[in-house]
Symmetry: C2
Subunit: 215 residues, 2 copies
DNA sequence: TGACAATCATACTGGACCGTCTAGTTTCGT
DNA sequence: ACGAAACTAGACGGTCCAGTATGATTGTCA
């Protein structure tokens, strides 16, 4: 009865489970929750339908696992510890690097489709949308606000409400490309050059409003 | 064969058609495209299923009419001619009034649900999403950019790229509440006091970055 | 009034699909 | 090697649903 923490991919059953998750991810992302077909998922997994239902109670349960797994992966990529501004030459360069990094990591076809999927299923799965909000925009803003508080203590910023400042900075570069991606599809995703421009201009506006005037 | 432009609500058939549209709107908004049921729509319309299909070729066609009709109504409310800044006491007051008005008009449960619906159906109805983008954010930004160009000519703003300035201003007050509404549902909608705060702070940041320094 | 079009209630067709069951086969631990 | 557990392919029950067909009923207009 020794509980050995086996890697999921080491056993045959574990691999099959991962295959199902992968195939379900693709299918749900392509067709949505109602549009997805459990038979198709089983076939794409190279696994019998029985095995699908051995690993996942129902279509709903599978959907929830797919979405939370995707959010977990996204978390790892998006929220690695942000470099400290001290180590950067200037505040401006730090803010630019942060913005550019967030744009590069968040504006991927997979993450945008995940966002569309969760928004479209808000009524059926409100918890998933809440989690996506908490671990996505809300968390980014919260982390940013902490950084801004320290920067204000150092006299580099003037932001009485650090959270509001973080909201402003975050959306100054994120809002337009995310909105385009939501409504125009992956064709609306910005090139790297466009990302740099969004980042650069957001930093300019942000520092004009929140930068300390005293040199 | 005289084509008389009859008001749709004046004839019995016309009224029935409008009833179907209204019921379909409610059902699609509640259940999404795949989740909606044509029998339910017929019953809610007080009309037989036959009559539904006499007026609309298919479920898809009905959905498209419902969404475009909603976008048309929204257009009327959101994009009434913006007051001219000249008539306002100060630029700051003008910008605040504009932002507050946009927030009040756009952040309604119906419009947010329409947005969720269209985003969720992007793959199935890409044209609807494109139209929503053109007549929503893109149009607001375009109108704003024209105003900003005039204001710059008057020396009240400094914005070499008026469209970028419009993007920044628009999302400074819109992005956070819209994002919350998308992921948290109608509970996330801001109160009037919160709208005023978003508007006021957006104006402050915007003017710090784009306001003319010369008094 | 009478003919004709619209509408109604309802049944039906054809198909999709979730989740279960069955019977036979493979894999795995011991 | 052997028994248990997992797996497979496929069928199936039950349900749902878009769209059509039917035959009766109502409303409209000459």
């Amino acid at each position: 009865m020794a509980v050995v923490a086996k890697d999921e991919a080491s056993t045959s059953s574990g691999r099959k489970r991962l295959n199902v998750l992968a195939a379900a991810t693709e299918t749900f992302m392509k067709s949505g929750f109602l549009g997805a077909n459990m038979d198709e998922i089983a076939v794409a997994s190279g696994v019998s339908k029985q095995t699908v239902y051995k690993n996942f109670r129902s279509k709903e349960a599978l959907f929830i696992e797919v979405v939370t797994a995707m959010m977990g992966e996204a978390d790892l990529r998006v929220h690695t510890a942000p470099m400290e501004p001290d180590s950067m030459e200037t505040l401006e360069r730090y803010l630019f690097a942060y913005a550019h990094r967030q744009l590069s990591v968040a504006l991927t076809p997979a993450l945008m489709q995940l966002r569309r999927l969760v928004i479209g299923e808000l009524a059926r799965f409100p918890d998933l949308a809440r989690i996506l909000h908490e671990r996505g925009p809300q968390r980014a803003i919260s982390v940013l606000a902490d950084v801004f508080k320290r920067l204000e203590a150092q006299g580099l910023l003037t932001c009485p409400d650090a959270t509001l400042a973080a909201i402003h900075f975050n959306w100054l570069f994120m809002a337009e490309p995310v909105n385009r991606a939501m409504l125009l599809g992956d064709d609306g995703l910005p090139s790297d050059a466009e990302m740099r421009r969004f980042a650069k201009e957001a930093v300019r506006v942000f520092l004009a409003a929140y930068g300390s005037k005293a040199p």
